[in-house]
Symmetry: C2
């Protein structure tokens, strides 16, 4: 019973979908659906390949009402740069939510993951950052540093962007790549200055020890921490989660085991009740920022719901267009 399957490459996907308000709205809807309670989202499947210094994560979710569901595979092989290859790769497979048939294979090398992760940062900023953000700060200098800055600027068009990274050359390269953003972009010497000067901070590092200290928090600040997606990673001083007026997770069980919340729980700083989820704030089931002065933190671990939402969105964008190879299988 052969049927047509569309195979789309990273280059074709980059041409078809980018980081814009539409993508952000798609991811906002995914979080909303998570809050509605009908999404089926199994725990992340994880496998370590210790010999190769590698790991693989598999994520998925079924969002009722969406025509498809994605299975997303994200390998991370950390010796790859020595071979001239990127550490992060992977693909998404889109299945019909009605028949389970494979509809498309998106050979995106992680591009769609980058996109839906950045879009989640925009959603977090939209619902939790102060209305007026003059200065935004990005900690880290990789792909997500670039994308999170652009995503944040979509929803909070700040005047000034500060960047800090452990490697000053990379931070400068990141600033150069963001020079087209309509604001003043500067590299700063230390993360403390960056946090103190910003109303919106996004941390995008794979840090295992906090890079943001609780002592740097100040009124009129929102922090989105998107780096931690595994037990062992930790970007924000656990004390900061308690000190903030509001801590919001993308998905509570994932935040408990993979996010910033894990370190706070391990330090005994967090009481056992579940945190508010981003979707609850979107749907008005939980409060968001109450006033400009508050300190808010959003912890993004990355959800299968985002993968299903972006993959289904891409398929809609490609409908009727001659993009990718069609294979009858």
């Amino acid at each position: 019973m052969a049927h047509d399957i569309r195979i789309v490459t990273e280059a074709e996907l980059r041409a078809a979908v980018g980081l814009d308000r539409e993508t952000v709205a798609v991811i906002e809807q995914a979080f909303g659906a998570l809050s509605d309670g009908w999404v089926v989202m199994p725990p992340v499947m994880s496998m370590e390949l210790a010999e190769a210094h590698g790991e693989v994560d598999v994520k998925t979710a079924y969002i009722p009402g969406m025509s498809g569901f994605a299975i997303k595979v994200s390998p991370g092989f950390f010796d790859n740069p020595r071979l001239g290859l990127p550490s992060l790769n992977g693909l998404m497979i889109l299945f019909s939510a009605k028949t389970g048939l494979v509809e498309a294979v998106f050979l995106d090398n992680g591009y769609l993951t980058d996109l839906r992760t950045a879009a989640a940062g925009a959603v977090a900023a939209q619902y939790l950052a102060p209305d007026l953000v003059h200065t935004a700060g990005v900690i880290g200098s990789g792909v997500q540093a670039r994308l999170q800055a652009r995503a944040a600027h979509l929803v909070r068009p700040f005047d000034r962007l500060l960047i800090w990274g452990r490697d000053a050359d990379k931070a400068r390269a990141c600033a150069d790549d963001l020079s087209d953003l309509e604001c003043d972009v500067r590299v700063v010497d230390n993360p403390a200055d960056l946090v103190r000067a910003s109303q919106l901070v996004i941390t995008t590092t794979p840090a295992k020890e906090p890079v943001v200290k609780a002592g740097w928090l100040h009124p009129e600040l929102h922090i989105t921490a998107m780096g931690s997606d595994q037990a062992g990673k930790n970007e924000i001083d656990p004390q900061a989660l308690v000190q903030a007026d509001l801590y919001v997770a993308d998905r509570a069980p994932q935040a408990r085991s993979l996010g910033e919340l894990r370190a706070a729980l391990e330090a005994g700083l967090w009481a056992e009740d579940n945190p508010v989820e981003l979707g609850d704030v979107i749907r008005g089931r939980a409060r968001g920022r109450r006033d400009a002065d508050e300190i808010t933190i959003c912890d993004l671990t990355g959800t299968g719901a985002q993968d299903t939402a972006i993959a289904t969105h891409v398929m809609t964008l490609l409908a009727g267009r001659d993009v990718g190879a069609v294979i009858r299988a």
Copy 2:
């Protein structure tokens, strides 16, 4: 950093690999590796899509020494036959175990799963069935009934094959499809007669209530139950597991939650120690059949190690051959 990815269809895979001694040996090695203890195999990821009467399973495993690892996605959508579509579908993706890059996408619609499942039946028969099998019996009349009969005949070239299925027409169609097998093939009226007359029985049903009763067991019998791969399925009377001289699981934790062992545990019939695994018998770490008279049962739930083994094997078979589409992504 684009690289070549081979996309191979079901038809191309069927032409490239079949059920033969080589495939059986590949799966035997996978079970052996599981017993050696170095295989990394996360629990099966499962998602239900209740509205569509569907479910999806994701399996994977890393087998040190193999050049690749597979991620296998198996959707089962049980309203599909009404739409003229098969219930079971899916694909396998092969990744490099060194870099995590996608090497191949096997759009097999479940064919490779069928193959590695049948091959596991052959391995079970090879190590556990009496040396002399005059009569083999297959319960069920689907794809696996056909493949398991052929797989068993590879390692125990029986003279007579009995088939029983709930639907007599389907059982006859199954017998017809097996008429090329070098033995006498007959459809029987009831499963009790089938079990009593056979030295090797393979159950291949999605039964939720046992189809094989403990009272039918007799000396000189091996049963392989391959139907149960989910909590809720049960082909063999739980009492039979205790009554047999030896019960062997493909993978103990999976058998406890997804296999025949689950029902025996729930009935309080099985003590809490873990069963012997098929790989332990292969490697000589646990005893197999001691003599012709014993009663043995093997419980196959299906492992990610088999998926990685078959996918890697297929890639080896395709090396240097112009099979499938090559996409630079």
